[in-house]
Structure formats: structure tokens, C-alpha cells
């Protein structure tokens, strides 16, 4: 039997969901692989929803909203873009970025809705099943994706993505406009840092560990791990537990 991808779509109520309805009214035919979750605006789509779906082994996630400029809520889709871009950056770290897609479908684009969904189904078919699907997916990868979900939901990432438009498109309090490329650099660095930090938190869930063992487990330089540990201590998420054979052991704090 050929591979039938399991897909999830987040559709905004006013444009893409209406476009999907119009596809129905016009009897446009497309493959039945995608299930739809309706939200009022694409800007409502929290990165954690997308990552959670992938974590569960869903093969692809489609985010759809109104065309730029046509948002029912004026600018919600601009926010959707920023959140989506951040999610994609995160997923690049584990090679799952090509399993998510963002598109604009208006309420009058019933035909186009059918086309883009068909294309998504085909593209994911070519890509094959998600490494997280099936009965016994790779535990390590699940933990990595979980780290992404938690990192994307962290205060730091949410603050960065939430402020991006304001800071790069409008003047800040000093009357300066921050260059987008520079902001993206900061984002990229934060994405890697928060990803690694949340991997540490997950690695410490079951047992307390030393910097050295965390470094080898996560394949990250020990000096970087140590920096992360210090940051996480500052955030009251990790604590020093004990010294065993001259090596400090760190534990997860609740």
C-alpha cells in the first residue's frame, strides 16, 4: 500500500476556512489527507501547536491565513508569518522544517485551496513518512522536538518574536529602526541557545548529570553546556546538587 500522509491544517476562519468551504460548494476534488483545525485568525496559531502536531508523528502541518493586506483583523497574518518563520528555524535543527508550510488562501480561492492541499499531499508523499510516525519512533528525536516545543514556548523566544515587527518595522523609543537582518541574527542565535537549554532540561528530567556527561549526551561543547547551566541556574530551572569525585552534578529544579 502506498504511503498516505497524515496532515493537519490550521485555517483562519475568514479567508482560508471560507476558501475551503468554497472548494466544497464548487465540488473541487482533492485528496482527503488533511484534517482541519479552525482558528479565528492565523495570528492565533501558536508555534507550540505546530510542533506538538509534528511531535505526535503527524507528517505535515499546513498554516493558512488571509492574503497579506486582507486580514480580517488587519494585521494578524503579519504576526502569523513571524511565528511561522521562527517555528521553521527551530525545525531546521532537526530537519523537519520541510514538513510545515504557510500559505495564503482567500475566501474566493476555492480552486486554489484544492490545488495547494493536493500539492502539499504530494510533496509530503515524496518526502515519505515523518521519522516520528509509526509505533516506535526514535526516542532521541522525540526529545529534540519536545525541546523545540518548549523552547518555542519559552518567555525569551515569545518576547523576541512578539516584538520583531515593532522593533524592525517601527521606530523604537530612541527613534531608531533596527535592521531586520540584525534582528534575524539575534533570533537565530537565541533559537540555538534555547534549543540547547531545553535539551539540557529534558536530559535532566530523569537523573541529575554533570556538564561532561550532558556534553557527550547532547554532542555540544562542554564550555557551552556550562554557560547554559549557569543561565538555567539564573532562571531557577537547574540547581547544583552535589559533587561526586570532584565533578559537580546538576539537577532539574521544579
Amino acid at each position: 500500500m502506498s504511503f498516505e500522509p497524515k496532515l493537519l491544517g490550521f485555517l483562519c476562519n475568514w479567508c482560508s476556512y471560507a476558501g475551503a468551504d468554497l472548494a466544497g460548494v464548487s465540488r473541487i476534488q482533492y485528496p482527503p489527507n488533511m484534517r482541519v483545525i479552525r482558528v479565528m485568525c492565523s495570528g492565533r496559531i501558536d508555534p507550540k501547536f505546530i510542533v506538538q502536531a509534528l511531535e505526535l508523528g503527524i507528517d505535515g502541518v499546513y498554516v493558512m491565513g488571509c492574503h497579506i493586506g486582507d486580514c480580517h483583523y488587519l494585521e494578524g497574518n503579519y504576526e502569523a508569518v513571524k511565528k511561522y518563520e521562527m517555528t521553521r528555524e527551530f525545525l531546521k535543527l532537526v530537519g523537519l522544517d520541510n514538513r510545515i508550510r504557510l500559505d495564503w488562501v482567500s475566501a474566493s480561492e476555492g480552486v486554489r485551496f484544492g490545488e495547494v492541499v493536493s500539492k502539499f499531499v504530494n510533496d509530503i508523499k515524496e518526502l515519505g513518512p515523518s521519522p516520528l510516525s509509526g509505533d516506535s519512533p526514535d526516542k532521541d528525536l522525540i526529545n529534540k522536538v519536545r525541546a523545540i516545543r518548549l523552547a518555542a514556548g519559552s518567555n525569551r523566544m515569545r518576547a523576541l518574536v512578539g516584538r520583531e515587527r515593532k522593533i524592525t518595522e517601527e521606530d523604537n523609543v530612541y527613534g531608531e529602526k533596527y535592521p531586520l537582518e540584525k534582528y534575524k541574527e539575534i533570533m537565530s542565535q537565541a533559537i540555538i541557545e534555547e534549543y540547547e537549554r531545553h535539551r539540557i532540561l529534558i536530559a535532566l528530567e530523569d537523573e541529575s548529570k554533570s556538564v561532561k556527561s550532558l556534553a557527550s549526551e547532547l554532542s555540544v561543547d562542554p564550555s557551552i553546556i556550562l554557560e547554559h547551566i549557569l543561565t538555567l541556574k539564573g532562571r531557577a530551572q537547574v540547581d547544583f546538587q552535589e559533587i561526586i569525585k570532584n565533578t559537580p552534578i546538576y539537577m532539574r529544579r521544579e
Partner: protein, 562 residues
């Protein structure tokens, strides 16, 4: 906790699978789907109906709610976009909070689009029902938000649309303000000669409208007046205006946008010079004053419209050209008139007659292609004629350009004050082109006339009335209930809020403010429920009612759960 009380807390979902005649039932096994739904956690009742939206179906829901003590209802049928209000009302009549209803779309987005794959459609419908039930379990009762209505209307723009709207509202008995930025009411109508159809004198219409507007009971006309700012929400708008340097605030319940459109600056188009190469608009007073002596007249249609820069059709220019050409021809039958056109737009029962008459009177129509625009030379126009396959040279001593109406340059400013959208050409964008053509998505704000796209006088009047009638649906009430599915910062999450203010910045409706205690406060009446603040809140303290994280996650888990 007694057994009785415990029972009260339990989630008891009723699932109703609609056959929709054969629309759904013809492809998938609705009975089987209902049986499957019955096995889902939390479901205590499930059934299939031939038409769940019929009287029989609705009665079945109400009966099941009573008999099975249901506290959640899921209907799997068409689409919430058309039928959610009906089912919400139905469960509400049976004593259930309307927000405890959840819709599953298994027709428009399932059986209609997978007609050749019954198996795939069934699997999809089953998943969607499972997800719908999972969300239903998490639904919470919500209250509608009750607002007092200030039963006063405001119309922005004193052109034909605005006057029509204002007269309509005031005659219904509502105190109405009509604001016009110019010193005189009537807008562009003041400059026109005759109006199609029937060649009625424009002055007759405009004088009648203005005299009616100046002798009303409830209407207050404010000319030479500009809007400074607009605050508030449906039923409670505060509009700051300035009139000859005096500032004043109007308190109104609804706002009608009837600002019309502007004329395109014709400079640089087809050798425009304002002398013997003019626009249709400039031709009108010349017709009125009987100044047209030209013997060879050429009119160029779509001058500056339906191109890359202005892709839209201005809709009034074809009829204007036909009307003016006929007026000239009737006065001076010897005048040669050629109309160079790309497509002629004469819809309806009256307008095509103008074209027929024009042909009978000997007006020449020459089709030109957008890639070969007519070339205006001295005293002649060179135009490529597709049918003969070569250029034609048409002499002129008067060249009239049918230029489009364009959006006002200050539309953006007004749009931002009102929190309403504009489209790519800068015209105002209504809530839905078919379902809500006179509304904006922002409650209490309405639209009519050429502010939306260019329309003629007949249509302007009709749209003015339409906007007034929509506004009166609000103004006729002392209070109004608006959707309770808003953003919310629950008391139990207050400690999570760090006061970072990012939610305030992403909210397009300025519904989030910091109160006197320096705490984040969400003004629910202003909130439209988009949920962007919830997806952005750095500490995930904001809850989007009816689309909570928990509810959406439960849908994801129901689908992806192994």
C-alpha cells in the same frame, strides 16, 4: 461530593451526525459514524439525522439534551460559517449555554471534496468528529457581552451616498450627524450635467438631496468639518471633529463611511492638456454651459485604469462616455464622435439601450488592445484596429479621456482611526463581499458608495440606504450583545503577567491597555477575538476564550494521539 453533584460536573457530549439528505449520507455511512462517535470518551448520546438543521433535527437535539442531561453538543454537518448560529440558538433554547456547542464540518470540507474516495472521506469524517468531541469536552460556558447603545448615527461624507444614508437614518427617528469636509454638500454631483439613466439633471437630484438634508428633524449637517480622531467601540464611539478651528466631540453609536472617491490626476495621460484634451469630468460643465463647438470628438475609455497600476474597472466611465456622446450628438447631429474602448460595460435593463442608441445615432466604436494603446498625435489619434489589421487615423478637435475614479489619498488615515481595512487600491474593504457587503468587520461601522469601489449615482443611493439600514439594526436597540469569545486575562493567571506590554502592541484594535494600577486590562468590548495576543503573550497568561490553548491542543492530541 454527592453522586448527584458529581454527575453535574461530568462531561456528557451528544453527537449528531447529519446526512444532509444525500450530500453526506450518500457518500459515507452516517449511522456507522454515529455509532463510532458513541464510543468516544465523554460521549453519552449519538445519533444520525436526515437533516439535523430541520425542525425534526433540532427537536431531536433538544429532546436528547433533556433526556440524556447533555451538557455539550457536537453537530457534524455543513459548515459553522452558515449554520453555527442556528445550532447555538437551538442548544440555548434547550437551556444550554450556546458556547457549549461545537461544529464539525463533514460536508463542505469532506464529502463534497472527496466524492470519489468514500473510504478516505469516512476516515477523515471520523477523525474530525473525534477532534470535535475532544474540543467539546473542554468547552466552557461564556456570557455574551452586553453594551449600552448611544442611539445616534454618524455619516462621514456629504456626497450622494452620505446624504442618502443620513436622510434615511434621521427619517427613521435617529439623531444623525452628517460630516462633510467641503463647505458644501453634494460632492462631485455638483459638477455633473446630466445623469444616466434617463438623462436626469444632476442639479435636480443634488438640490433635492441638499434641501432635504437642510430641513430635517433629527439631522445635523456639519460642513467644512474634518475628523481628528475616533475612539470607542460599537454603540459608544467618540468622534473628535474640527470645524473651522473649533474642536468638538460627537458621541455616536454607529459610523457610516461614505467618503466616496477622488478623480485621477490626468497629467501625462494621452497628452492631456486641459484645453482640447480633457477628462469626462471636465466635459460635464462644458456641456452644461453649452460650450462644445468641436466637430470631431474622440473619447478614450479606460484611460489610466485596468492597467498594472490600477487593475480595477472604474465602472462608471463607459456609461458616462455613452451618455455624454449622446448628449452632444443630439444637440449637434453633425458632430463626429468616436469612442475608443477596450470592453464596453453596459449592464442591466437600462444601460445597454444607451449603447444601441449611440450606434443608431452614428457614434463610431473602435476597439483597441491594452498592448497597443491609442497614440495621440497633433489633431489626430492613431489607433491600431484589430479587424483591419492596421492603424487608423482619427482626426479630433476635442479629445475626452474617460479616467477612473480613484481612492481618496486620506482613506488610510480614516481606516486606521476606524480600525477597518483597505484593499490594494486603497478603497475600503467590506467585511464580506457577498454576505456582509455594507458592513465592516469592526462592529458598528458601515460602508457605502464609491468609498468601496466606484459606483454610479443609482448604486450610491442604494448603498447609502443599505448602510443606513444596517446601522439602524444597532441603533434601534438600547443595548446590544456582542460575541463573548474574546481574549481574557483570567484572575488565576494575573501572577503570570509580567507587564511586558507586547500584547498591547500586537492588538490591532487597541483593546489591551494598562490600567491605573499599572496592570494589563483587556477591554472585551473592543476585542474581536482574533487571538493574536494569546499566541504572543510571553508568559502565556492570556486565554483566548472558545479557542483556548487547551481546546486547540485537545484537537491536535485527538488527531495525532497514538
Amino acid at each position: 461530593m454527592t453522586e448527584e453533584e458529581k454527575k453535574e460536573d461530568d462531561v456528557r457530549v451528544g453527537v449528531f451526525i447529519c446526512h444532509c439528505g444525500s450530500n453526506i449520507g450518500g457518500l459515507i455511512d452516517c449511522k456507522g459514524l454515529a455509532d463510532y462517535a458513541g464510543t468516544l470518551p465523554g460521549v453519552t448520546h449519538s445519533e444520525d439525522n436526515l437533516y439535523t438543521c430541520s425542525e425534526t433535527g433540532l427537536t431531536a437535539i433538544k429532546t436528547a439534551i433533556k433526556e440524556n442531561n447533555l451538557n455539550r453538543v457536537v453537530v457534524a454537518s455543513c459548515t459553522p460559517r452558515t449554520h453555527e448560529p442556528l445550532f447555538r440558538e437551538c442548544v440555548s433554547e434547550a437551556g444550554l449555554n450556546p458556547y457549549l456547542f461545537n461544529f464539525v464540518n463533514i460536508r463542505d470540507q469532506c464529502t463534497w471534496v472527496h466524492m470519489k474516495d468514500a473510504e478516505g472521506a469516512y476516515a477523515k469524517a471520523a477523525d474530525l468528529v473525534k477532534m470535535g468531541v475532544a474540543k467539546a469536552e473542554k468547552l466552557e460556558p461564556l456570557d455574551m457581552i452586553k453594551l449600552d447603545i448611544n442611539q445616534v448615527g454618524l455619516v462621514i461624507g456629504g456626497g450622494v451616498t452620505g446624504i442618502s444614508a443620513a436622510l434615511n437614518l434621521s427619517r427613521q427617528g435617529f439623531k444623525t450627524y452628517l460630516i462633510e469636509k467641503e463647505a458644501q454638500l453634494g460632492g462631485r454631483l455638483n459638477n455633473l450635467y446630466k445623469l444616466f439613466p434617463h438623462d436626469i439633471d444632476a442639479s435636480e437630484i443634488v438640490n433635492r438631496l441638499i434641501s432635504n438634508a437642510n430641513n430635517p428633524k433629527n439631522l445635523e449637517v456639519l460642513t467644512s468639518t474634518q475628523i481628528v480622531n475616533i475612539h470607542g467601540f460599537v454603540g459608544n464611539y467618540e468622534v473628535e471633529i474640527t470645524q473651522n478651528g473649533n474642536n468638538k466631540t460627537l458621541k455616536v453609536g454607529t459610523i457610516i463611511v461614505a467618503v466616496g472617491s477622488s478623480l485621477l490626476d490626468p497629467k501625462g495621460l494621452f497628452g492631456y492638456n486641459g484645453q482640447n484634451i480633457i477628462t469626462q469630468y471636465e466635459l460635464e460643465p462644458k456641456l452644461k454651459n453649452n460650450q462644445i463647438k468641436a466637430k470631431d470628438i474622440v473619447m478614450i475609455q479606460c484611460a489610466g485604469s485596468r492597467n498594472d497600476k490600477r487593475p480595477y474597472c472604474s465602472s462608471v466611465c463607459c456609461m458616462t462616455a455613452l451618455k455624454n456622446a449622446l448628449i452632444i450628438k443630439e444637440k449637434n447631429p453633425d458632430t463626429h464622435i468616436s469612442i475608443l474602448f477596450r470592453d464596453l460595460y453596459t449592464p442591466g435593463t437600462e444601460y445597454e439601450e444607451y449603447y444601441r442608441k449611440a450606434r443608431e445615432k452614428g457614434i463610431i466604436f473602435i476597439n483597441y488592445d491594452v498592448d497597443r494603446n491609442p497614440n495621440v498625435e497633433e489633431n489626430q489619434v492613431r489607433v491600431y484596429n484589430e479587424y483591419i489589421g492596421e492603424d487608423m487615423l482619427i482626426p479630433y478637435d476635442l479629445l475626452v479621456l474617460s479616467t477612473p475614479l480613484v481612492a481618496n489619498t486620506d482613506n488610510k488615515v480614516l481606516a486606521q482611526m476606524l480600525k477597518v481595512p483597505t484593499e490594494s487600491n486603497n478603497f475600503f474593504l467590506e467585511a464580506h463581499v457577498k454576505l456582509r457587503p455594507s458592513d465592516f468587520a469592526t462592529a458598528g461601522v458601515f460602508i457605502g458608495g464609491s468609498a468601496k469601489w466606484p459606483v454610479d449615482i443609482t448604486e450610491s443611493i442604494a448603498q447609502g440606504y443599505s448602510a443606513a439600514s444596517r446601522a439602524s439594526t444597532i441603533l434601534s436597540h438600547k443595548t446590544i450583545e456582542v460575541d463573548g469569545a474574546t481574549s481574557n486575562l483570567p484572575v488565576y493567571n494575573k501572577n503570570l503577567c509580567s507587564g511586558c506590554e507586547i500584547c498591547m502592541k500586537v492588538c490591532p484594535f487597541h483593546a489591551i491597555v494598562k490600567n491605573e494600577d499599572d496592570e494589563i486590562e483587556i477591554i472585551e468590548a473592543l476585542c474581536k477575538g482574533c487571538g493574536v495576543c494569546g499566541a504572543t503573550c510571553t508568559n502565556q497568561a492570556i486565554v483566548i476564550k472558545h479557542f483556548t490553548d487547551d481546546q486547540i491542543m485537545s484537537e491536535i492530541l485527538a488527531y495525532g494521539g497514538k
